[in-house]
Chain length 734, copies 2
């Protein structure tokens, strides 16, 4: 189960989970972004400066009006006053920008103001390239689209399928996981058991006149940010209050949100009409299964439930042994109230989820040693509460100190780190953040999110949670099918067991028609209740006993029930396994990968900036291009031979026999991240150029496919290859 | 667009398409199964025999009753009479079975009565193995499931992902197709344009008392089959009538179906209550996008529409050149009224669809030569109408004779044949059946289905249709965005064009406020209307002209409009491309593959039959097993080293170090189709056994992974490998 928050709350990193027992007060006591408090002083100074500059500009504007109104003012005098006004406005504008950047940076817990200022521009450059080269396309564009739905175009689709293939190799194959593939259409009973029907909601407000819907927390957040970024009259106290609201936003109840919206006088953004009270809107797409209209169903909001309901069969398939993991890749759906943040908050997305079932009494992992020495940024609870930043930690120490709850959780954290960095995620913009107590579900043992920093801030991309026995218990209860595991004892064990034997005869005589209800109530007693009754009966001979189903107390006498502790031999332990769940938002990982892979460099003539995606060969949508250097039948034929051998080897490639200049052809393919270019410049050997270093080597025609396969499959690196083939010494063709 | 019928009508092979102009009469004139008429005589004889035997048994039963009732009848006499009755009943039962088998075989157009009789048993054996080994699992089983929804369990999921990976290699990579990935949630406007909102329906009847829904054609079909298989009193004329109804079933209108149901007195199967008139039920799962409830959406019934709406971007991506193909793999949904036939008729399934866009004036294909010499079973229209069977044809001839409409369609038929047979589909149970005129949409140029024979009969698994320009035109009209292609002329061409120039001044004077409507109506005239008006104006000076938007006729005079034919130079041709669409029902292909791969063979001791799936390595869920021959630390260590090298090479495998007998371990893995078993019987070299031949070779430990990779990837066959390594001469271990 991917945490609710993974696709719901992003810029605020306090997650909202499906827990029914939210410890709201904790959240109010420990707003997470204490670290941003240090920045507040700088913001206040900026805010004061902005107020002064705006006041000065306003005064000058008044002066200009006065001069113009005055009879006989010279043209020169008017011009000078207007120039002065312009200068003051430019100054005020610059200060406003700095304030907005500082507030935004603090708000998103990101880097300094400069980066914050350029974030938007950077994102725009990436997104423009992605859209222009059809990495993705707003879905149903010719019909003006649907918010929150995107298509992957050809290169995006190839990247996605490479990421999924690597996920299968890295997790499913490496760990011998049991992969399953369940439908998206899910009957209500399953999602009732999981809690989604009742709790998978966001709070919504409606424009009271037009009926347009908004997410209540979004409106409050926008209001607070706008104020912080643009209002020069904000006092330090007011600014602190707004920041506090932003920090606890995700934990506010409907009433608390409604009260704040009223207090701040927030209205509908488009119409300024008054808003309704906030009320919950269920985020699942609802439908109806079959023609009767009597079987409600939903499009699954996650893939995990399909695994949980199959636990019994999968456990059997695994030879009734623990631990084992099941995995699923598939579509999930969330009917967002108002999707934002482009590819990060969407209504339909691909999840890859693992449910690792383990004995709660033994969460060690035999392969933990393989990842224990990894060192990467971790952001445990203590650092967050102390207002510090994430710090590099060695995984072995994090587990041995108890920072990470257990070895299995630690193992998966390590494996996720390897997965993401091998895809090309920058390890300096990747951290593992532990959930604060108020973020976690009451049943969870521990939970860490892999967060990746991009232009939107730190984004939750993988959730790795120890969910204990919650999900299996929920489905056991609802379905009546025990989802449990067994541990056979080497020797039978002697255990003490409470035995309650109601005497039906005596109870029948005493209670007649009510006998059955009394018998059931006696049998349902907890151990504590039974022992208390036993001692009361022994001392007093009778006892008052409340029977719920009768709605009254009855008198139980000593001859009506026998209560004893008996020793029994047990041959096995029956228990509900714990589940450790790494859950991957594939679309988010891919978007962050796009940002981390993007850079620009000047063209050879230095008259323009060229875009490059530095995808590793593993994820590159196309592994190489084949270009004849000049237009010639001979070279074209060689190019076609090479293309055919690449196809046979399963290497995706494009062949471009247009006469366009080689530099332009390089630029075009660098922009979709093709790592290697094969230029046919003779009939016996060719030049292979690497995208980022622009290094070139010479390779014989009949070896091209095998060399490309080596580097594309990751068996060799470019460095390995360059050591085996001669460098191409002629000048770089672009 | 996969034809409606692919997931709707299976046992009857006359397809129902989305065509608005169904030529019902043709269907009534040419019932498809003329071939089954020959069998009818045999059935009639059986039916007469059954009636005689039942009558004899009834008479004997009467006799038994009479003997028993008679005072003084001896025990021996009673026993003899009862024995005689039993014998007659056994005979009648056997005849009833033969009749049912004969009728079923004729009905499903399958083989002889023997095969028909054993079909059910064969299917049961396959399905039992599939369910027991978790190839698939009825979804949400612990909640008693949902009809028409299935999970793929671990081996099924692996087979599916191998099939899809091969599909990508065979089609997308080989042809450089543009793969896209669009959402399942689709707004209404898109499916309105495609015709699904209005026409994607099945006819349903309701139990008038309980409200239970049934597919009208299913009830009628069941009634006819039941009668044909079990009613001994059926006259040859009545049998012929019922067979005719079965043959034209899919083409009956709501009224016709309703009339037949009434005529035959068909009632609700469970309650015998009367049924409502048939009415259409839309098969799409409906939902609502966003919180307002004002944006209806559907779960897509096919993936094709996502490609059509992106045509403009994809054409641009392809350098504005034709032909090119786009492809998509994804989930599709159909809310069946009452799903049947297990994995063949489901409510959610994976489609893989290709839309190949081509100039309608040039449907040649440069690679047709690669497949032209293939020979396989084809079932063109003429053979079907003549009541003959499918015949082997050479593809080149089928295209050159015009049996297949064009080269591109022929090329894809050939590629589909290669795809299916390489997966392991038996070429003798695979045929390409051409749609009859009444099955095809009015706009389609030609259409062929790849049908695979399994225990359910011939099943439509791939549809390959030339859909002409229909889909792109429909979306052009609805969206207003022209989805067209351009052909630049080498030289500008002179063409004649109609030019209509209304004189706004004169029209303004004449019609005042209505001027705009008249101008628009004049400009909207067709060429024919304009030329008629031109000649009328020239001869009479004025003409009556109907303006729809005014709802009346106006008088147009010669000075109000100028109509002329002008010569213009055109630099390009603008046209809507044709689309050729191969559309694959992945789940159906996999189910047929399961049946074609399944066989049983006796165990070594010959005391039981063992199940085997003879999957080719390409699709096998697990490529090899690693077994230490006997329990030993040394052998276990070697097994683990081999397993590690297999993981590194990306070869899925299972390692079994339990002490179970090697024969049992073989049997267990033969049953999930693992093609190779690596038995560790020394520390330097091992035995590799092939599943079907049970041949064994000896391979050094450090070469195991590379040998397994060769055969798993299809670079080498088992025969190649056996020629390179020594045979293992010791007796077969199982």
């Amino acid at each position: 189960m991917l945490l609710h928050s993974l696709f719901i709350s992003t810029s605020s990193t306090i997650s909202k989970t499906l827990t029914p027992y939210k410890t709201l007060t904790l959240a109010l006591l420990f707003p997470r972004r204490l670290s941003s408090m240090a920045a507040a002083a700088g913001e206040d100074a900026l805010r004061r400066a902005l107020a002064e500059k705006q006041a000065a500009a306003d005064a000058q504007a008044e002066a200009v009006r006065a001069i113009k109104a005055r009879a006989g003012a010279s043209e020169a005098e008017v011009d000078a006053a207007v120039e002065a006004l312009k200068a003051l406005r430019v100054e005020a504008g610059a200060t406003a920008k700095r304030l907005a950047a500082a507030a935004a940076a603090a708000g998103s817990n990101g880097g300094g103001g400069d980066w914050a200022g350029s974030r938007e521009a950077f994102r725009q450059a990436v997104v423009n390239t992605l859209e222009r080269r059809l990495f993705y396309i707003p879905s149903f564009k010719i019909y003006r689209g649907v918010a929150g739905l995107y298509d992957y175009g050809p290169p995006g689709c190839a990247v996605k399928s490479n990421v999924l293939a690597f996920w299968r190799q890295h997790f499913v194959l490496e760990e011998n996981m049991l992969e399953v593939d369940c439908p998206c259409v899910t009957p209500e009973v399953v999602l009732k058991a999981s809690g989604h029907v009742d709790k998978f909601t966001d709070l919504m407000v409606k424009d009271e006149k037009t009926g347009t819907c908004y997410r209540a927390d979004h409106l409050l957040k926008d209001f607070c940010k706008e104020k912080l970024e643009k209002d020069p009259k904000l006092s330090p106290e007011q600014a602190a209050e707004l920041k506090h609201v932003l920090a606890v936003l995700d934990d506010l109840s409907a009433d608390e949100l409604g009260a704040k919206i009223k207090e701040y006088g927030i209205t509908a953004p488009d119409t300024k009409n008054p808003l309704s009270e906030p009320y919950p809107f269920n985020l699942m797409f609802q439908t109806s299964i079959g023609p009767s209209g009597l079987s409600p169903g939903y499009m699954r909001p996650e893939t995990a439930q399909g695994i949980f309901v199959n636990f019994k069969d999968l456990y059997y398939y695994n030879g009734n042994k623990l631990p084992f993991a099941a995995a699923q890749i598939g579509q999930a759906f969330r009917n967002e109230i108002s999707p934002r943040q482009g590819l990060l908050r969407v209504r339909e997305f691909t999840l890859a989820e693992i449910e690792h079932f383990v004995d709660p009494e033994d969460k060690s992992h035999p392969k933990f040693g393989d990842v224990a020495d990894l060192e990467f940024l971790m952001f445990p609870r203590e650092l967050q509460l102390a207002g510090e930043s994430a710090k590099p930690m060695i995984l072995r120490e994090a587990v041995s100190k108890g920072t990470v709850n257990n070895e299995t959780l630690g193992y998966f954290i390590g494996r996720v780190y390897l997965f993401l960095t091998r895809l090309g995620i920058d390890k300096d913009r990747l951290r593992f953040r532990q959930h604060l107590p108020n973020e976690m579900a009451h049943y969870a043992a521990d939970c860490w999110d892999a967060e990746i920093e991009c232009s939107y801030g730190w984004i939750e991309c993988v959730g790795i949670a120890d969910r204990s026995a919650y999900d299996l218990r929920a489905h056991t209860e609802k379905s009546g099918v025990p989802l449990v595991a067994y541990e056979k004892f080497a020797e039978p064990k002697e255990v003490e067991k409470l035995v309650i034997v109601p005497s039906k005869k005596e109870l029948g005589l005493a209670f007649k028609g009510n006998q059955k209800m009394v018998v059931e109530a006696l049998e349902a007693m907890s151990e504590k209740e039974a022992l208390e009754m036993k001692s009361a009966l022994e001392s007093k001979g009778e006892v008052d006993f409340h029977v719920c189903t009768l709605g009254k107390d009855v008198v139980i006498k000593q001859n009506m029930v026998s209560i004893s502790i008996e020793k029994k031999k047990e041959h096995q332990r029956v228990f509900t396994p714990s589940v450790i769940e790494p859950s991957f938002g594939i679309g988010r990982i891919i978007y962050c990968l796009f940002e981390h892979s993007f850079y620009t460099r000047p063209s050879k003539s230095e008259d323009e900036q060229l875009n490059v995606f530095r995808f590793p060969p593993l994820v590159a949508p196309i592994k190489c291009t084949v270009f004849p250097l000049v237009k010639s039948q001979e070279f074209d034929d060689v190019a076609k031979v090479i293309a055919k051998s690449l196809t046979a080897a399963g290497i995706s490639h494009i062949i471009d026999i247009t006469g366009t200049s080689i530099g332009k052809r390089y630029a075009r393919t660098d922009e979709i991240g093709v790592p290697f270019a094969v230029t046919v410049d003779s009939t016996t050997s060719v030049t292979i150029r690497e995208r980022d270093s622009k290094e070139q080597i010479r390779v014989e025609v009949d070896k091209v496919a095998s060399v490309m396969k080596e580097v594309a499959d990751g068996q060799s690196t470019w460095a390995d290859v360059t050591s085996r083939f001669p460098a191409h010494t002629q000048p770089d063709k672009d």
